[in-house]
């Protein structure tokens, strides 16, 4: 599939719109996971608006592609995207984390339409994706299963158990995207517990792996195109991203992993996003 410049421009603008809606959902004075949400936006746009077979018409069809947010704290980005697709009510997303809301702090597949997996306890998403792929294969469904894991999340042993299972069972339609934003809750990932070389580690486990600029939609789409060849996987895309991407004062630090914006900061952030169009 080729991506012409107009389509690419549309995806880039979509990413800006997702970031703006995300900040609007987060609003002022409320604690949210800013850094790890902003870093993953371009990945989510490339998946939902370019690669995945997933629409308001087929989101409950068993043959749909699946997306699992293994780094569950970034689920607000998925809420915004599901809102844009018309699967959830965009206005209702603003009730996020409030008592009685459909939009929980971490993914709840029983409460939120379009959420495919219960995640939040880190390291469990790839196993769940493998199980999804096994069930789909048993039912004769031909689809793709995508998931995003955080780089800090790779410190969880279960991820590596699951990384053995995917090739063992020939689950070539599983594609893991590592949001390599280099920061976790309390500091720099590789100072806390080094996870590199991520791509080589996964290759040694039997995966195909590739590194891309994870905030460049064009590179992401090109990498995702490879998953259209079902013999190619399992495929890992190590997406080098910037934590807090798109809002300069939030970028490249762990300090805004979980943070609340002041009114001034919110206005500044929205202005910068608008100017980036």
């Amino acid at each position: 599939m080729t991506l012409d410049s107009a389509a690419l421009e549309a995806l880039r603008n979509r990413a800006i719109e997702v970031r703006k809606q995300l900040l609007t959902v987060f609003s002022v004075g409320k604690t949210h996971h800013f850094g790890g949400c902003l870093s993953v936006v371009d990945i989510m746009v490339a998946l939902y608006f370019y690669r995945m077979n997933y629409t308001a018409a087929n989101w409950q069809d068993p043959s749909r592609d699946r997306f699992i947010m293994s780094k569950g704290h970034a689920v607000p980005v998925q809420y915004v995207v599901l809102g844009m697709l018309g699967i959830v009510d965009p206005e209702e997303i603003k009730t996020i984390k409030r008592l009685g809301s459909k939009f929980q702090g971490h993914p709840d597949m029983r409460k939120t339409p379009g959420i495919e997996a219960p995640t939040g306890s880190l390291g469990q998403g790839l196993s769940f994706a493998n199980g999804t792929a096994l069930a789909c294969r048993h039912d004769g469904i031909v689809n793709s299963i995508f998931l995003v894991v955080g780089d800090g999340e790779l410190q969880e042993g279960q991820f590596w158990e699951a990384a053995m299972t995917t090739p063992q069972y020939g689950l070539k339609n599983v594609c893991v995207i590592v949001d390599r934003n280099c920061f976790q809750s309390q500091g720099c990932v590789d100072d806390m517990m080094n996870v590199e070389p991520i791509d080589d580690k996964l290759r040694s486990f039997g995966w195909n792996a590739e590194r891309v600029d994870g905030n460049d939609v064009e590179q992401l789409c090109a990498a995702l195109d490879k998953t259209r060849d079902r013999a190619f996987g399992p495929f890992a895309i190590v997406a080098d991203t910037i934590k807090g991407k798109g809002v300069s004062f939030l970028e490249n630090t762990y300090k805004y992993h979980n943070y609340k914006l002041s009114k001034e900061e919110f206005d500044m952030a929205m202005e910068e996003l608008e100017a980036s169009r």
């Binding site: 219960p118 469990q124 199980g131 096994l134």
Partner: protein, 315 residues
């Protein structure tokens, strides 16, 4: 009637439901022969999934399958099944109410020679505390077979406690989820037991009967939910109720019974005496030696019941 373990009944039950339902799968972590999970391969080898020695990955993978319409029985020794994979069971099975059946094999001190690392005495405690989780504890292999069918019928998470310890058939196999099974009538003492250790209760009840002490005996094949009205009816009029389990006295059948009595019988309820493993880990030994050490063999239970009767008097 056969002399075998509840794990053997589990294997037969799994095979039977797998033959009925093409969406039933079994997974194991390198213990499939011991746990009898391999029995599903006699129906369809493609529905047994070996996960390697990775209990956490097994549970989350099963959850992913269950979210897509499958009924998955995950298997390991009870100690690893409920301990090693506790977070996966909590986060990805119990919380989202997925159709995964958690099967804990070789439970209790009768696991034997492998010692304290392998003897699960807290599995019912761990599973009972989880919202949405049903906890089954069949007494013999026939009842284990029935437990598999009940777990299969229940759309949601179930823990099945299984044992390698071999007994004769002790009770009617068929049971109703949550209900007690009345085994013997009596007027001196009420005993509620769960699991194959019911064999020790039956021995003790018989011995005490010879001495003119009549014991009302119940079997609890379900630990959660446990029917409040059944427990209250069973203990009605008794000064003492004794619970018996091959498990810590903290958090299992004894606790469940005490909670019901404390919460519903007001100040008029009976005293609850919990027989089981008294807040201790296991150790190496034969099953018989370990049961004797913990006074959970037939003579040991008989001694405990006599002492209770001597202290409390009749009723």
């Amino acid at each position: 009637m056969s002399v075998d373990g509840t794990r053997d009944g589990f294997g037969r039950g799994l095979k039977a439901i797998a033959a009925q339902n093409p969406d039933v799968f079994a997974m194991d972590c390198d213990l499939g022969r011991s746990t009898r999970a391999y029995s599903i391969t006699e129906v369809d080898a493609g529905r047994f999934i070996e996960m390697g020695i990775a209990e956490q990955d097994m549970v989350s993978t099963a959850a992913g399958m269950a979210a897509n319409g499958k009924c998955v029985f995950v298997n390991s020794f009870a100690v690893f099944m409920t301990g090693r994979a506790y977070d996966q069971i909590r986060q990805q099975v119990a919380l989202p109410r997925l159709n995964v059946k958690v099967c804990g094999s070789s439970a209790g001190i009768t696991q034997g020679p492998d010692g304290g690392t392998h003897q699960s005495v807290t599995d019912m405690n761990l599973m009972r505390g989880l919202p949405n989780m049903v906890v089954l504890s069949p007494a013999d292999s026939g009842q284990a077979e029935a437990a598999v069918a009940i777990a299969h019928e229940h759309d949601g998470p179930v823990y099945i406690r299984l044992s390698r310890w071999e007994t004769e058939q002790l009770v009617p196999s068929v049971f109703e989820l949550g209900r007690l099974q009345h085994i013997t009538a009596g007027d001196t003492l009420c005993v509620i037991a769960t699991g194959p250790i019911l064999a020790s209760a039956l021995y003790a009840v018989n011995e005490l009967g010879k001495e003119g002490i009549r014991v009302a005996l119940y079997n609890a094949p379900t630990i959660k939910p446990l029917a409040t009205e059944d427990v209250l009816a069973a203990v009605d009029g008794f000064a003492v109720v004794v619970t018996l389990e091959e498990h810590s006295i903290i958090g299992g059948l004894g606790s469940a019974t005490a909670e019901i009595i404390a919460g519903n019988a007001g100040g008029n309820g009976p005293r609850v005496v919990r027989l089981g493993v008294r807040d201790a880990f296991g150790e190496s030994g034969t099953a018989d030696e370990l049961l004797a050490k913990h006074s959970l063999d037939g003579p040991g239970v008989a001694r405990s019941l006599r002492a209770i009767v001597a202290e409390a008097g009749a009723r």
